[in-house]
Amino acid sequence: MDAAPGGTILRRVSESLRIPGIARPPEVEFSFDGRPLRAPVGESLAAALMAAGVRRLGEGPGSPRAAFCMMGTCQQCLVRVEGRLVQACLTPVRAGLRVGPA
């Protein structure tokens, strides 16, 4: 009788890239390129986008841009948040954040 819900949970966990066993703040809604997404408030925007399956963040000269160093060095995760250029890896998720390609 546990099989059905257990299976559901297992599938959900295996689909999510968020590691189980970590207590997180409540999820909030934000958007990338108009597409609504959810993430725990305070998670880094780069991690949240990755967890949401958004990997390609823009186009650089000669190659696509995607989160790469996660520590503010490589500048590959540059995105536009509320009209301003920011590095996604240094920006915490907040409710209602409108994010788009740089």
């Binding site: 966990v13 295996s14 890239l17 968020r18 590691i19 189980p20 066993g21 970590i22 207590a23 997180r24 703040p25 725990p40 408030v41 305070g42 998670e43 880094s44 991690a47 990755m50 967890a51 990997r55 390609r56 963040l57 650089g60 000269p61 000669g62 190659s63 696509p64 995607a66 989160a67 790469f68 160093c69 996660m70 520590m71 503010g72 060095t73 490589c74 500048q75 590959q76 540059l78 301003r84 250029l85 240094l90 915490p92």
Partner: protein
């Protein structure tokens, strides 16, 4: 005016600020992240509760000591400008150091009599075909994702590169539920065997390493020794990775993430800006500032502690931070020479012990020239500017003989990462032609240390406020 400004709140910076403040200095610690910890002890965002581990405990201990030390802690401060000290007009007396930062998008300027730089490292990733595909991330990036964010870089992950981080990331991925499809270690088994005696000094690390290996073995993860990534492949994102094994065979692995790192490079932007003396030390990660035993640079009242002064690992960093703090206080006259002599021996001995293991690990992570030779001509080396190896070689054919010239000839390193990502590969390509990294040199340190939004620097102003000097004659 502060007595000591410490830049960077990793283990070295936290310990330096703690020590200097406890001994009576007026200390400020500046850090870009929201919380102290640095990359190795990076704290999870507020409200995230991650399971305890050895790193978290070590980080929490340093954070607790710092919090009680009396040092002014300024997190969320992105330092973009440094000045003063020796950077004054000819004939002017030495000035205090000036630190320009952005906090919440607003400019902040601080002054300090002494500066302790704890900039840490950035990761070396030597380009290979497909390294720019979404799904390829750094090993250090993977540790941040896993430890501080609790997010997997993918479901099926290949881990590749060099150094102990490789095993740490693979084991963590595995534990967190990802499938580690393979691990490609550049080091051969013989190299690890040679490093063992130095590791024996740290049974805790040795045990941790053994546990990691056991975890991988239990899931029969293929661990390929002496292997390198030949290419990452996929359409819009990573789909598979091709590995060249020690025997020269190619193996292909389907995966949606590749975590790869080829070692750590000391961040020397600030010491280059101050024109401190540097030397090239391949085993310590690359160009490092010349330091004395107390972490003094060649510039008066400027100190470097932690991996930014040469890779020696997180265990050695706090002791180096304390040495720098003690030297700074002594040079400022806050601590007497006798008190200094009494206080320094303990951190000195501690540093010596920890640095031995750290140095062995750093050697494993040293740049491997074969990786650079293997870069195909059409592969992008400088990602910010889209400069390929072929374009670099053409510039070298045209006579570029050192890094600043290469930058001018190709724009390699001129983009927003300011050469942090491409610098190692580019410098090595120059070095092949000019007879070594010493001759290839390094790009001159420039402000801003990180890209700064124009808006933040502009502030509110009227046109009449702009101090326009007298125009040139007609």
């Amino acid at each position: 005016m502060f007595d000591v400004a410490v830049l960077g709140a990793g283990p070295a910076g936290m310990a330096a600020a703690t020590e200097a403040a406890r001994r009576g200095g007026r200390v400020v610690l500046l850090e870009e992240s929201p919380q102290p910890g640095g990359q190795v002890y990076r704290a999870a965002p507020p409200g995230f509760v991650v399971p305890e581990d050895a790193d978290k405990r070590a980080g929490d201990a340093l954070r607790a000591a710092l919090a009680g030390s009396g040092a002014e802690i300024r997190t969320g401060h992105r330092v973009w400008g440094l000045g003063g000290g020796p950077l004054v007009p000819q004939g002017s007396p030495p000035a205090p150091f000036r630190v320009d930062a952005l906090a919440e998008g607003a400019p902040v300027t601080l002054e300090a009599r002494a500066l302790v730089l704890c900039p840490g490292t950035h990761e070396r990733i030597i380009p290979f075909p497909g390294w720019t595909l979404p799904g390829v991330i750094g090993l250090a990036a993977a540790t941040i994702l896993l430890k501080a964010q609790g997010v997997l870089p993918g479901r099926r992950v290949l881990v590749a590169g060099a150094g102990p981080l490789l095993y740490a990331v693979a084991a963590k991925l595995h534990k967190a539920g990802a499938e580690v499809v393979a691990m490609a270690d550049l080091a051969t088994r013989a190299e690890w065997a040679r490093a063992l005696p130095a590791l024996a000094a740290r049974p805790d690390l040795l045990a941790r390493g053994a546990a990691w290996r056991a975890a991988l073995a239990s899931r029969s993860v293929p661990v390929l020794a002496g292997a390198r990534v030949a290419a990452a492949e996929g359409g819009g994102a990573l789909e598979r990775v091709r590995i060249v094994t020690a025997t020269g065979q190619t193996e292909s692995f389907d995966c949606d993430a590749l975590c790869i790192g080829h070692g750590l490079v000391p961040a020397t932007e600030a010491t280059r800006l101050f024109r401190a003396a540097h030397r090239y030390d391949r085993a310590a990660g690359g160009w490092v500032p010349v330091l004395d035993a107390d972490r003094r640079t060649s510039v008066k009242l400027l100190y470097v502690a932690g991996d930014g002064g040469g890779v020696r690992g997180a265990a050695a960093a706090p002791a180096a931070g304390r040495l720098a703090a003690l030297a700074a206080l002594t040079d400022l006259g806050i601590l007497s020479g006798r008190a200094h002599a009494r206080a320094r021996w303990r951190p000195w001995a501690e540093h010596w012990r920890a640095a031995r293991t750290g140095a062995a690990m750093a050697r494993m992570m040293a740049l491997r020239p074969a990786l650079v030779s293997a870069i195909p001509p059409e592969t992008v080396v400088c990602r910010c500017e889209g400069v390929t190896r072929a374009e670099i070689e053409a510039a070298l054919d045209d006579g570029a003989a050192e890094m600043n010239q290469l930058k001018q000839f190709t724009r390699c390193g001129m983009g927003p990462c300011q050469g942090r990502l491409c610098g190692e590969a580019a410098a090595e390509l120059v070095a092949i032609r000019v007879g070594g990294r010493e001759h290839a040199g390094f790009a001159t340190g420039r402000m801003p240390l990180r890209p700064v939004p124009m808006e933040a620097l502009l502030g509110e102003f009227d046109y009449a406020d702009i101090p326009v000097p007298k125009p040139a004659p007609i």
